[in-house]
């Protein structure tokens, strides 16, 4: 392990290189940036066997450390997932250029013509945990938007990420862009994260953490740089009294069970008392039939025999697993109050045929994404049509909800005059 002194030197070197490339990148044309992404995709496809070998090392280590099934699934790469990663880069290359867009323009009575034009943020630090594909997705979104990026992956995925990282640098070089546009911290020493968060405000413009509660808490505690925050997703499906019964069951089942390990997976189902008797047994049996453990409040337990009792802790737990908590509420106000108390501001869905109920839910639920009659698993940049995402921001500053290439830009005002002075 490097000493603290050498971590500082190492990270300062990385920061300096990133800042220098960022200045260059900001004036690179989108053709060149897209060429780099396509070359990276080709390089990943060519190196699929290498990446799988690197991933096998990570998987062995993870299994011997007893990681959960959900964590192992996040870590695993096979030929199909590697190809999907490359396809993802090609898709990002095909997106519109997020840089140089005229976001607004207007003319003032004095003749000044003002444009608000998108520009790169500069240098972005990404701190993530086990998913190795974040290495490709996050770096590609940063390059797409003209930013230099410093990647700091989790120790679990270190070998896999290094293999992917090599492909990205190959792609940048092939397109004539300085490979330091994408850098990866070459150590799993946690001190490097501390240094990145606390001592690199001059060379890093924003940090995007992707991971669990502990990572986010550490980032919030230590960061002296701006953060685009990603909290966990304690997502709710609320079945309103005016819900279609079949739709409610299908949405709950999909929101919980399609993939249990993603942040948009539902963790709690709320059902209006007026329809509970008719709907709860049906939903519980569908969930249990799909292998989901249901933990219910008193009313749910009274309606269905083989349901575990939910404890207070269940309402604020992100299971990321085939477990769901279920509560019967008196009305929409109580559902909204429950979400305000226990939710994490990520994604919530109301199932209802009532426009009034949906509007009330949209207005009073203060989450990044609110849906009517759709699964919470749509909380995803790709599903929103953004091509890809770095994550779902639950903070309120700069970006909220899916963070794609457009969200990784800032802007400047360009003002054209003809000699105006201010009276």
């Amino acid at each position: 392990m490097p000493t603290e002194m050498s971590i500082a030197e190492l990270m300062d070197d990385i920061g300096r290189a990133a800042r220098s490339v960022a200045t260059e990148l900001a004036t690179t044309g989108s053709d060149q940036r897209n060429a780099a992404l396509k070359a990276s995709a080709a390089s990943i496809r060519n190196a699929s066997a290498d990446i799988q070998r690197a991933n096998a090392l990570d998987m062995d280590a993870a299994e011997s450390r007893g990681l959960t099934a959900a964590m192992l699934d996040r870590l695993m790469l096979d030929a199909e997932r590697i190809d999907a990663m490359a396809t993802g880069l090609d898709a990002i290359a095909a997106l519109h250029d997020p840089v140089g867009r005229i976001l607004e323009e207007w003319e003032r009575p004095n003749g000044l013509r003002i444009q608000r034009v998108s520009v790169p943020l500069g240098v972005i630090g990404i701190i993530y945990e086990s998913r190795p594909n974040v290495t490709a997705d996050a770096a590609a979104l940063c390059v797409k938007s003209g930013n230099a990026v410093i990647l700091r992956g989790g120790s679990e995925s270190f070998q896999s990420s290094q293999a992917i990282y090599a492909c990205l640098r190959e792609g940048l070089t092939a397109a004539g862009i300085d490979a330091d546009a994408v850098q990866m911290v070459p150590t799993t020493d946690r001190a490097a994260v501390g240094y990145l968060l606390s001592s690199m405000a001059d060379s890093v413009d924003v940090v995007v953490p992707r991971g669990g509660k502990n990572l986010i808490k550490r980032v919030q505690d230590e960061a002296r740089v701006p953060v685009i925050g990603h909290l966990e997703g304690i997502c709710h499906v609320y079945v309103n009294k005016d819900a279609d019964v079949d739709m409610a069951r299908d949405i709950v089942l999909n929101a919980k069970m399609r993939r249990t390990g993603i942040c948009g997976a539902a963790e709690t189902v709320l059902v209006d008392r007026e329809v509970a008797e008719r709907i709860v047994p049906d939903i519980v049996s569908a969930l249990q039939g799909a292998g989901c453990e249901v933990r219910g409040d008193k009313t749910v337990s009274s309606l269905v025999a083989d349901v575990k009792k939910a404890t207070e802790a269940d309402w604020s737990t992100e299971y990321l697993d085939a477990i769901v908590s279920m509560r019967v509420v008196d009305n929409i106000e109580q559902a909204i109050a429950h979400i305000r108390e226990y939710g994490s501001g990520h994604t919530e869905s109301i199932v209802t045929d009532s426009t009034g109920a949906a509007e009330q839910f949209f207005r009073d639920v203060d989450s990044a994404i609110v849906l009517q009659n759709a699964s919470t698993q749509f909380a995803d940049g790709g599903e929103f049509g953004m091509g890809a995402e770095i994550g779902i921001a639950t903070g309120r500053i700069h970006a909220r909800g899916p963070v794609g290439a457009d969200q990784l830009t800032s802007y400047k005002y360009v003002v054209r005059g003809s000699g105006q002075v201010r009276p």
Copy 2:
């Protein structure tokens, strides 16, 4: 002075009240918020004599502490300035509603209809220094955008700000809005700022500091909450070789001397060598004629006799006074390099008739506002047509340039479906 313990209790009470009002405010109609602003304006006009009496106390204290002329000017309120403050509130009331705007909407191939809708940020903390009118402007912009605000003014303007604050609460109450939508920290104890920055992440969504270097540095060091940063304005006017001579002189004169105490005032003038002989003497004599001290580099000194020598420190000094530094550069590249090295990313203007030079300047100067053939003193929310501003953000996150009511919002995604589940 309250003890540290009581500061924590005091601030926690303020934070709790702000969070609670923010939840209410987010669903208040714009009519009610605008009525509160108009009632506040009326109240300020009625209380003009009281506010002047309070301001006289602040001015006496400031003079006896030997504040500079620029600082005294920032602090001073007379009937005219108080009336302008009230007019400012009326103008903010007349602006469009920044909340509930549909920023984008689109439909996905699966039929999901997605809207990105503006929502208030929540609770905003404003930390500012001597200008008492910030109390009214900042609070009004927050109320306009549905946010609760916690104001922490400078000790120099404490009496003036309290008098204005009383009018704002009167206005809110008159419109039926909980007066705690606007709160002011009732102590000048600096520990209150420390507590706001470090311990109120749960009750404050963003802090906006307005003030000098020391304040900004303190905020950057201590903040555990998101910050919309405002650095000083080391603004440049660059006179390109293709500049119109008369226009260059008029713009430099206005950029420096219209008001020397604002952040958009120019501090450094750069002139291309090719036109220096023809232009520098003219500009220097205009500046000196207006009472401005000119500090020049070697070439400037060789062209004009009575010019003080600029030192290295001059290039990074925000004078906020009738002093300007002036340098002759070899070409546009050197001008841009100078701005990159010494500028603060605020506002820079190029004077040129060449579209090519202007485009190069726009692309390569990385500042919040870049102008061609116009005075840097246009760096102002009002001059941009935003009605008013809290300040000019020099950070790259969330908002850059003038921060008006629209910039004090976040957004949420509202998604309407018809039973969609994710494949």
